[in-house]
């Protein structure tokens, strides 16, 4: 037997934690509302039932406001789950039960996972789950998803409910006048054929649900009924009132359900969160503290990842290279293969892999930040600044996510309710420097500014944020006019990051990095190697090779920016496949120049400190990688925006690189 279980609940209630615990998956968990923005599926066997478990984005209600809530709603309405596990946060039962009420109204089979009971206990909130279960008519199972407590009982209850017959809908009273209209409308709707119970459709119509209204309005038989049309108009005339009255009625119902069953201490226990917030959200210190946190992150990344572990990794790569070469020589492999392995793969892919320790440290630190609860505070302290450039605080979260990788960064914009906010957020996200660009900066930093590694990295990231702000301002004044949308954001309690979560999110990113090194980068390097040694007879990696010719054709574009060499041009263009390819390409085309610190040494010879800076600025800002462009296309629903993104960011990057070089030259830098 197999059944479908949907995980539904308010944002940040622990759905994904539960999903991972149940299915052994490795989905992204973080301590801020809106981490999950798409549907994720996994499987678990319980007894002899195979359960398909579906993790959904968080939602405050079924009337979706943003793209991520839409995904959740869509699955609840059309995915036909056999049972819904409604994950509710025990520290905020009342608000969470609002969604539960809506689920019960539609007659879904529900089991409640009363999650985070550990935190409720800490705050001295007592919950009588038996009373809740009795009054709601559904099982209520206390759980601590992060410690895997209560999962067994939860699954037992879910399977029992899934196989039991549906037990009537919960009927609430919405006040006399609404109940009256509801009854009439329900009766009239019974004449039509629907996929949903007519009572529920009637309720949704009165609540002003666009989707249900459309279903009902599109039904021919309804349009023929005069009585129906009259009622329809009557309802439309009063919809604002009905809407809010229905919401209030649900809260009244929730109030009755929780009456005496949920007790809070008279004076709320002052938590560590309150104390921390006094500092971290301080009106003057908030932003400097954010900057300081980021600065420390980069310093640590550099100190541990590069200075401490980097050497070791570099010699490991070198050792493997030598080993492979001698192996190939002993088996009498053809010269081209030896050459391809040594000067192509090891020089190219190896140059990227050397940075794994650094990436590991960066993602560990980012994971700590994400799981701590600080992300929502960053959004809070940035709201004023963001507002000044026509954006709002919530956009900042998608920007920080972009620091890891722009693909989830662009996806994270789904939580933005206004179309304008979302489009701008998508278009500026690629300016957030992602992990894949770090190897590029690192090579140039090692060549020219080895003493200022952490500060240089920080400066690159800061520049990305500044350019994003400027472009945001320009977009909100030109392409996407309109009011700045409202900022509404829940600030979750700070939580001690769990080791498992942090390690898993780190591994998720690092394995992506390694996979790209083994696939995309490998393919790019192989292709470029072939182009670099052809046509036969030319000097490999020389300007006469096909690759050299292509590079030479492009190079003049970059002359005003100071790095008009064919190697740099080829590197930049291969970076559109994936940003790591820039370093891989540079590693390869400068290979064989000298032994030892080849890449860094040759960079030091062909670049100057000034052109190094302008090249770094270029790589920070120019055309997003193919994966990001693909995501932009998907999320905006149009290839035109992806193309626009590719071109305008190239323009911005080029212009800034030129300014850096020209102004720098004028000022006498070299």
């Amino acid at each position: 037997m197999s059944i479908t279980i949907a995980l539904v609940g308010n944002p940040n209630s622990g759905k994904t934690t539960l999903f991972n615990a149940l299915t052994g998956s490795n989905q992204h968990v973080g301590n801020w509302p809106g981490v999950t923005v798409e549907r994720k599926e996994g499987q678990v066997r319980h007894g002899n039932t195979v359960c398909r478990v579906v993790d959904l984005p968080g939602a405050y209600s079924l009337g979706a406001f943003s793209e991520d809530e839409m995904v959740a709603r869509e699955f609840i309405l059309t995915g036909n789950p056999d049972v819904v596990i409604n994950v509710i946060d025990a520290t905020n039962v009342e608000r969470n039960l609002y969604l539960t009420t809506q689920l019960l109204e539609m007659g879904a089979k529900v089991v409640i996972a009363l999650n985070m009971v550990d935190e409720a206990k800490e705050r001295e909130i007592s919950i009588d789950e038996k009373a809740l279960a009795r009054r709601l008519g559904v099982p209520v199972i206390p759980t601590v998803a992060s410690r895997r407590n209560g999962l067994e009982q939860l699954m037992n209850a879910a399977l029992a409910v899934a196989s039991a017959p549906r037990n009537g809908h919960v009927r609430l009273s919405y006040g006399e006048s609404i109940d009256d209209k509801l009854a009439k409308l329900t009766n009239l709707l019974k004449a039509g054929r629907w996929d949903y119970p007519s009572g529920w459709l009637a309720l949704k119509v009165m609540e002003g649900d666009e989707y249900v209204r459309k279903i009902v309005a599109d039904e021919q038989s309804m349009q023929r009924s005069k009585e129906f049309l009259r009622l329809w108009d009557e309802i439309a005339a009063n919809e604002d009132y009905y809407q809010l009255e229905i919401v209030d009625s649900r809260y009244r119902f929730v109030g009755e359900v929780t009456q005496d069953a949920v007790r809070r201490p008279a004076v709320a226990v002052e938590t560590a969160t309150d104390k921390l917030d006094r500092i971290l959200t301080h009106k003057y210190w908030g932003i400097p503290i954010f900057a300081a946190i980021m600065f420390v992150v980069f310093q640590l990344t550099f100190a541990i990842g590069q200075d401490f572990l980097g050497e070791w990794m570099a010699s490991a790569v070198e050792y493997i290279g030598e080993f492979l070469e001698s192996l190939l020589l002993t088996v009498n492999a053809p010269q081209w293969l030896v050459d391809f392995t040594g000067n192509g793969i090891i020089a190219g892919v190896g140059a990227v892999v050397e940075f794994v320790p650094l990436i590991v440290i960066l993602y560990l630190l980012m994971g700590l930040l994400e799981d701590s609860g600080y992300m929502a505070r960053a959004a809070y302290v940035m709201d004023n600044t963001m507002r000044a450039v026509g954006l709002q605080g919530k956009t900042f979260i998608s920007m920080i996510v972009g620091f890891g990788c722009n693909v989830p960064g662009v996806m994270a914009t789904r939580t933005l309710e206004s179309k304008k906010d979302r489009m701008i957020a998508i278009l500026i996200n690629p300016f957030m420097s992602c992990g894949a660009k770090i190897p590029i900066y690192l090579v140039f930093i090692a060549a020219f500014f080895p003493a200022y590694g952490g500060a240089a990295l920080f400066a690159m990231y800061a520049l990305g944020i500044i350019v994003a702000f400027i472009m945001g301002k320009i977009f909100s004044k030109t392409l996407f006019k309109g009011e700045v949308s409202h900022f509404i954001m829940e600030l979750p309690p700070y939580r001690m990051p769990t080791l498992g979560t942090v390690l898993r999110s780190m591994w998720d990113n690092v394995s992506g990095f390694l996979t790209r090194a083994g696939t995309t980068i490998f393919a790019v390097v192989s292709l470029l190697w072939v182009l670099a040694v052809l046509p036969g007879g030319v000097e490999p990696y020389g300007p006469e090779s096909i690759l050299g010719q292509i590079g030479l054709a492009i190079a003049p574009i970059f002359k005003p920016a100071g790095f008009g060499t064919w190697q740099a041009s080829v590197g930049l263009f291969s970076g559109i496949a994936a940003k790591e390819a820039v370093v891989a390409t540079l590693g390869m085309v400068y290979a064989g120049v000298e032994e030892g610190m080849e890449l860094v040494m040759s960079i030091r010879e062909v670049f100057t400190p000034l052109t190094a800076v302008s090249f770094m600025v270029m790589t920070l800002l120019y055309t997003p990688c193919a994966a990001t462009l693909g995501t932009i296309r998907k999320e905006t629903g149009s290839g035109k925006w992806a193309l626009f993104s590719a071109l305008y960011s190239f323009g911005v990057a080029w212009a800034l690189a030129v300014v850096v070089f020209q102004v720098g030259s004028l000022l006498g830098f070299a």
Binding site: N92, R123, D274, T281, H486, I488, E490
Partner: protein
């Protein structure tokens, strides 16, 4: 009854939501997040940035524009 906009209240004050005069979507969103009529909220922070209020044991940050449109009655 004396209505005052949430944004005018000082930190530490407890009040009840009376009426929200934002657009229809924003109003419904707030209602569904627990800011329905009669909901008890406590102003936790109100300086330059968004107003932070305590609602049912959780903290919610509301942009100042929005906080100006939320009318409350002091307790």
């Amino acid at each position: 009854m004396n209505y005052s906009p949430l944004v005018d209240l000082h930190e530490g004050v407890t009040c009840k939501v009376a009426r929200i005069q934002a657009g229809r979507t924003a109003t419904k969103r707030l209602y569904e997040m627990g800011f329905n009529t009669g909901a008890r909220i406590k102003v936790l922070k109100n300086d330059r940035g968004p107003v932070i209020v305590g609602l049912g044991g959780h903290k919610v940050a509301l942009g100042r524009g929005l906080a100006a449109k939320m009318l409350v009655t002091k307790e």
